[in-house]
Symmetry: C2
Amino acid sequence: MKLQVASKILGANERIANENANIMKGKGIFSINLMSSPGAGKTTLLEKTIMSLSPKLKIAVIEGDVAGSDDAERIDKLNIPVIQINTGGGCHLDAGMVQDALKDLPLDGINLLFIENVGNLVCPAAFNLGEDIKVMLLSIAEGHDKPLKYPNMFQTSSALVINKIDLAPYVNADIEKIKKDALSLNPSIKIFEVSCQTGQGVDKWTDWLQTLSS
Amino acid sequence: MKLQVASKILGANERIANENANIMKGKGIFSINLMSSPGAGKTTLLEKTIMSLSPKLKIAVIEGDVAGSDDAERIDKLNIPVIQINTGGGCHLDAGMVQDALKDLPLDGINLLFIENVGNLVCPAAFNLGEDIKVMLLSIAEGHDKPLKYPNMFQTSSALVINKIDLAPYVNADIEKIKKDALSLNPSIKIFEVSCQTGQGVDKWTDWLQTLSS
């Protein structure tokens, strides 16, 4: 019974996700569903990315949070179209929420859309939003055991951005183990090592984004 | 329809949680549902706590993870009764999973039971397991915006352990804002500041645990 309901909800989500994909394709928009644990640095990565690529690329952002509008306010300061979604307790975005946001965003001329999901390393991986690719962020401070504990997130992501590598000297985390385990779960995952604080490695990430959305 | 199903699931969970509470009360066990984001340091805090309080207090542990048994293996090395639960994709423990684990644990003589939930700052707060109290951990590296973004977790927890304070000089996180916002959501929340890496502050946490479980 529980499973039947879950499969109905996922089926409805998939249908709306397809509609979203068509809306974005029609506008020539490349879209990225950005996922991570709380506090891994999704919004800070977006700030650095926007500062590097805008206005060369026209970027828009959908922000997903359980509550609050802190993240949208941060993006708004960069003069980028942004919509905040509050899930009100829900632990992930779904395609319907994103479709509502797409209606309110000025989509004409946008090249690249980031959809920042709710901070959560489990549920967001199960719900397509209509995005072109999923990208996940992992803070080095979370430790090296995350790939094997949260395999779905690593299996569904096209890229893994390991963030906060400036903290590597101060935490007991083996970055080679993270990369090895991520690749064992998903041999084609593209891996970036960055520090949004110092800027280290962010250029390789933004170079890659440009190849995707051009 | 979705809401009705959710309320049925929560109702069934509440009934089993009450049974769990009675089982533990009957054995004189004080139990703590330990919750946090992935990688905030729940298992490391348990290791330090066990090393400090065992065998003075007889401690047992239930480990919850999406996949894998890393955490149970770490606790097992300390010669403490431990059971690993894998949710297989589920983003939180529920009372039924805990009841199954309680049947397999040697409960006689145990004073203090830790139930380490799945790393997730959203869903675990909504599901009672039959515990006496909920305690949440927050890594300082997650930043100071977490209380207002994930209010439920802070509202339902009796204590907040702010971990990894040895990283404070290297991250842009305002610990006073974390404390102020947590207290605004939950004026009676007890706050500890610890570093499981250096041991700083762990004694105040273990002193408090002794007052609870005696």
